[in-house]
Amino acid sequence: MKPTDTQNPEYFHKVVDCQYACPAHTPVPLYIRLIAQQRYSDAYLVNWESNVFPGVLGRTCDRPCEPACRRGRIDEEPVAICRLKRVAADNKEDVTARLPKAGPPNGKKIALIGGGPASLTVARDLAPLGYELHLYEGEAKGGGFMRSQIPSFRLPDSVLDEEVGYVLDMGVVSHFNSYINSMNEMLTKGYDAIFVGCGAPRGRDLPKLKGRKEAAAHIHVGIDWLASVAFDHIESIGKRVIVLGGGNTAMDCCRTARRMGGEDVKVIVRSPFAEMKASPWEKEDAVHEGIPIIDNHVPKEFVVKDGKLVGMHFDRVEAVYKDDDSRELVSTGEEPVFYPCDDVLIAIGQENAFPWIEKDSGIRFTSWGTPILNDDDTLQSTRKEVFFGGDSAFGPKNIITAVAHGHKAAVSIDLFCRGKDLEDRPAPMVNLVSQKMGIHEWSYDNDPVNDAREAVPLVELEAALSDRALEVELGFDASSAFVQAARCLNCDAQTVFTASNCIECDACADICPTSCISFVPPAPEEDLRARLTVPATNLEQDIFVSDPLPTARVLVKDEDVCLHCGLCAERCPTSAWDMQMFLYNTTKATPELVEIP
């Protein structure tokens, strides 16, 4: 195996598991350290630069960072990254003066269709460069599905308004209550580029299920129903409610129904509980609110009596797994089960829908209904001045993915408007600085603490259920936040090895608490992995291989469970090891938006 090239920033980037897993590559350990130092505003701005909606995401993110967190591989649970983000947002001072302003006009005009996270990110990234930005939104306020689908007991309007406001205040011309119904018309309006971030607005239905038409008055498509609640178009629901589906939208539907008058609310899902699409914590939250989740039940029929919905029949099934890892839900052969209800909410998925984009617009679509894009980085459609992002690009994902698309699309739009090659994308901003302060001192908190993860405190259940607008989670207080922040291992403090300094004294290999370091004869990767002190079996994690040492051996470090405690560097007599803080700032149209002292 060849020596590892740590000059390529992607090597160290991948070591910072949380940041690497984050679609927007938020520098997580950096802002967690700032929270521990009670520098909440700085922590907020680090977030804001990278993910635009820290207050929103600190409450609602799908948190791909947490399953990736290295702490989860050596301890019971990962760092509470998401809810620490909320601490920064909750405790920050007024940051408006530190936010960037619109740049001097550069004469280019961009249209943004849809007012959700993707469009707002494009606007935020392009405004400082002097683009004239026009945002079109069908509803009365910006925010997209952050507003229409996420209930206010999880995300208060004030938090969303504030963060949408930061973007709109950068001189964005907003056109609310302006549903766009013709792309061809937009194309004639003289925009230099158009960004489509209109989401995946069509909720899946069960049109062919028996009784669907007859009971239509009491059957609602989940996302449409949530939007109606969010915009106060409806006030109540029946006492007995069945929610169909096992995703996060189903969880939001059932919890909202509990607050709209639903007393007996059930989630009924086809798949086994463990395989539901909803995040584990969202399932927990629903169960905590007294909502049973009934799995392995497939809807069979809406039962209508005297023209009115009275309940539903379900087939009981069990999951059968085949050799090719596919799954089939096979009926158990038992009698169908009847569950009585007054209303049904269908939350079984969403689809892309572009009825307003004409066939002759030059924008072509895949058979899945998603636009054909140049590639995942440029997000350019088959009509070169039109770009897609968020759910409208590749189907329903989440907010943080929409933000990541927004960054990429903004880079593409900027390159496009300047007549540059879209494939030739600017490099990320990277920094690497030694942290050595003394023999036993580092300028980061290198001693891993043993504290366990704590759950976020909640308001009383009774109070929560009686007020749809009352936020359920209270958030960590400052002292809990400090303990939770200290759990972070600082994986961005990189172990940097210089083979020419090494005298092979073994001190690093001997001291390493997690036995990550081995001196072994060079070999192909598979052999090397097997021959380490503890074999490196986690193939998702890289191994670092040094240049050959004087004894013709190489030093190999398995990145998998490195604690970044710095003991290897402390015990190194020749500074062949050093702990160096790595900052990776992903490519954005405006590289530096805020200043962190």
Partner: protein
């Protein structure tokens, strides 16, 4: 500030026959200089005890004074220990092994503690053949007092201060062979592949086992001109690799015929000496002395198992001591009554 080793371990850490991981054999974090060869020896002892599945509470660590003698704090944190007076560890070890012959004794000493102040005790420890493993962390200088030449510093070696050593160094391995030690090895702190099996074999040996380990002092004796720096030691190293297979463990490694020779210890464990040893005979005291001296004359540092008498009689056997430790003898055994006393007295008339 890192004076505490984190509690987290690799989740896939191998376990030994007792269910312990190597981390269970750790001691406190070392306060020796970063990169000290002694820390590497500590790790080799830790690994050896782990691999041989020795219960930590059945081990006693004994030492004198010096950087070397601080080492026992840094491994086997759950074993017995006695940090004695300078050069007097052999007395304590002798007494301890007489009182309890069932513990595994590991003596840690240095070139000053053994070859200078402790020489008188050391030579008698060998003569008495106390059942223990005696490891000298040999760095050729007094690291604790800023690096003066020790009695094992090589002739002509240059100290960090620039002085040339006008005296010939004491070769502890040769001395041990000459004095009749039943197990003599030499190794290098930077060669764990050899040192670990050597320590395991020494602990399995039922008699006095001596290992001289060249252990560079990174702070005062790791420069060019020093005879015991990492680079110089590696240059001179003439290593005879070996493997140790404990009794009860099946021999998994297949060696090509004629490439190894096996030496069986008294307890049934086997030491495999590899081809590089080139017909070296471990059971011939005179030949061993000759080989060590020849290598020395040629500027080679011969390491490995230099001499072994697996059927030696150790102190407890020679003195026909009770087969059980004193602390497990009951009142009746210790005080067999007046009839027994009478019969003893009769025998003396």
């Amino acid at each position: 500030m890192s004076y505490i080793k984190p509690k987290f371990q690799h989740p896939n850490m191998p376990k030994n026959a007792l269910g312990y991981t190597v981390g269970d054999y750790n001691g406190a974090i070392s306060t020796l200089c970063a990169g000290c060869g002694h820390d590497s020896i500590s790790a080799a002892i830790r690994n050896a005890c782990f691999l041989s599945s020795i219960p930590p509470h059945r081990i006693a660590k004994l030492s004198g004074i010096g950087c070397s003698s601080k080492m026992p704090t840094y491994f086997l944190g759950r074993s017995h220990g006695f940090n004695s007076v300078h050069g007097r560890m052999p007395s304590v070890a002798t007494g301890a092994s007489l009182a309890n012959r069932e513990l595994t004794y590991i003596g840690i000493s240095g070139d000053g503690d053994t070859a200078s102040i402790g020489m008188g005790q050391f030579i008698h420890l060998i003569r008495r053949n106390v059942n223990m493993t005696y490891i000298v962390a040999n760095n050729g200088c007094y690291g604790l007092t800023k690096g003066q030449d020790s009695a094992t510093a090589d002739l002509g070696a240059v100290s960090k201060a620039g002085n040339v050593n006008p005296f010939d160094g004491i070769d502890l391995a040769s001395l041990a062979i000459l004095q009749g030690a039943s197990f003599v090895g030499r190794s290098f702190s930077g060669d764990k592949e050899q040192l670990e099996p050597l320590i395991r074999a020494a602990m399995a040996h039922k008699g006095f086992a001596f290992i001289d380990v060249v252990s560079p002092c990174v702070t005062f004796n790791n420069h060019s001109g020093s005879g015991k720096s990492y680079a110089e030691t590696r240059k001179a190293l003439d290593a005879m690799p070996l493997d140790f297979v404990p009794m009860r463990e099946e021999i998994r490694t297949q060696y090509e015929p004629g490439t190894t020779q096996g030496v069986t210890l008294h307890d049934g464990s086997v030491i495999h000496l590899h081809k590089a040893s080139n017909g070296y005979k471990t059971d011939d005291r005179n030949a061993a002395l000759l080989s060590v001296q020849e290598a020395r004359d040629e500027g080679r540092l011969l390491t490995g198992l230099l001499y072994l008498d697996p059927n030696t009689q150790n102190l407890a056997q020679n003195l026909k001591l009770a087969s059980k430790p004193l602390n497990s003898l009951s009142k009746d055994e210790l005080c067999p009554g007046s009839r027994m006393l009478d019969s003893i007295n009769q025998g003396l008339r």
